[in-house]
Symmetry: C2
Subunit: 211 residues, 2 copies
DNA sequence: GTATGTGAAGTTATTCACAGCG
DNA sequence: CGCTGTGAATAACTTCACATAC
């Protein structure tokens, strides 16, 4: 995939942050918010917020601001989460199991519907209501559930093989915790999360070994 | 903190990725690598790699490239991970416990040395060799261990209070899984990881609701 | 008065392209 | 010759500042 009609990735990522803040405001019965107010809740400038939003349309009212619940709906439509997404998870180790137990996905439109592992002790069991399957069933379960998104939490040695099988089986987006720079077909999309890289960012800032 | 001597954050984050790749190459007994080769392993151009590295010094040899193990050491010095960092973890829920079990930190220079939770059933127990303390002991344990980095995996309602206490107790860097835009004193540093935001990035790309 | 949406300006980051060194 | 290091050029992103709308 990708062409994405020229949406800058930084802008796209900020949309999720705006959505979080708006959900908090909505829960506090706030009905309207200006870009200035929204900017107060983050490190982003008000002009950036307005520009980000106008990449997708005109959602504000001059002199008033944005209607909170409307903007939430709009952002969900843009991000594709006004509908529910079934997600499969490959690798039911410590991190995979933690994600399977994480309750926050539900309210954000995601549901882990199946997990896969190669440990015979886990295969056939459930964690909560999520069944853990053998890797042999990867393709058939993806086909049956029509899942399009996968979370990859295997050891890094197996990550590329799993990514190849996942995309061949119809998965279009992979959230990769396992290894940097997975090779996937051009019509699919990967985002990589490296927790140690974030810690390294902190130690760089904290230890100040700057030139 | 921060002034960071003008290191662009994107460059800084790529250093961690280079380090991962170099570690793989070193394990495969590769002794030298050119920026071009390194670029093949990621989506970054070779000129970007050279420019990133020269922000910190001149580490290559013309006509040859970079010596893999040397560059690994150099990057660790830059990132501050040639020494070992004790890290405290606040919130021993599913995600916190998964991170406590994660073995990859050790080889990257990090060690979770203590965890904190408010659940009486957890307090006083160990997970692996990591003791779980009462939150009452937060300040004293940070003081005793001289920890400077913390991982925050509490429910979001408690995150700000915990961040305030952590920084007051001497923590300088927080890896925040709990809530966006924590307020911290200017001499401390926060990096935020939002797993659902990454999933939203995928659903945006996959569902193609682009203008 | 207040706040959006947006050209224009400014800033930051990436890529080009090549001189210079091993 | 190959590959780094780097000015210069380009591209990407952010911020300014204001006309416009409510």
């Amino acid at each position: 995939m990708n062409e994405s009609e020229k949406i800058p990735i930084p802008s796209l990522r900020r949309l999720s942050a705006y959505l979080r803040q708006l959900e908090v405001l909505s829960a506090s019965e706030v009905t309207h918010v200006s870009s200035r107010q929204l900017a107060n809740y983050s490190k982003v400038g008000d002009a950036t917020i307005r520009r980000d939003l106008t990449l997708f349309g005109k959602f504000g009212q001059r002199g008033v601001g944005y209607e909170v619940d409307d903007l939430i709906s709009t952002l969900r439509v843009i991000l594709g989460t006004q509908r529910r997404w079934g997600v499969v998870l490959v690798g039911a180790g410590a991190l995979g199991r933690a994600l399977m137990r994480y309750s926050g996905f539900d309210q954000r439109g995601f549901k882990i519907i199946a997990a896969f592992d190669n440990d015979p002790k886990k295969i056939g069991t459930n964690l909560g209501d999520i069944p853990i399957h053998s890797l042999d069933e990867l393709e058939s379960v993806i086909d049956f559930t029509a899942a399009r998104i996968a979370i990859l939490t295997t050891p890094s040695q197996h990550a590329q093989e799993m990514a190849t099988r996942l995309t061949a089986a119809g998965i279009e987006g992979i959230l990769d915790f396992a290894t940097p720079s997975l090779e996937v077909p051009p019509e699919s999309y990967v985002t990589y999360v490296d927790i140690t890289a974030h810690l390294e960012e902190l130690t760089f800032q904290v230890s100040g070994n700057h030139p």
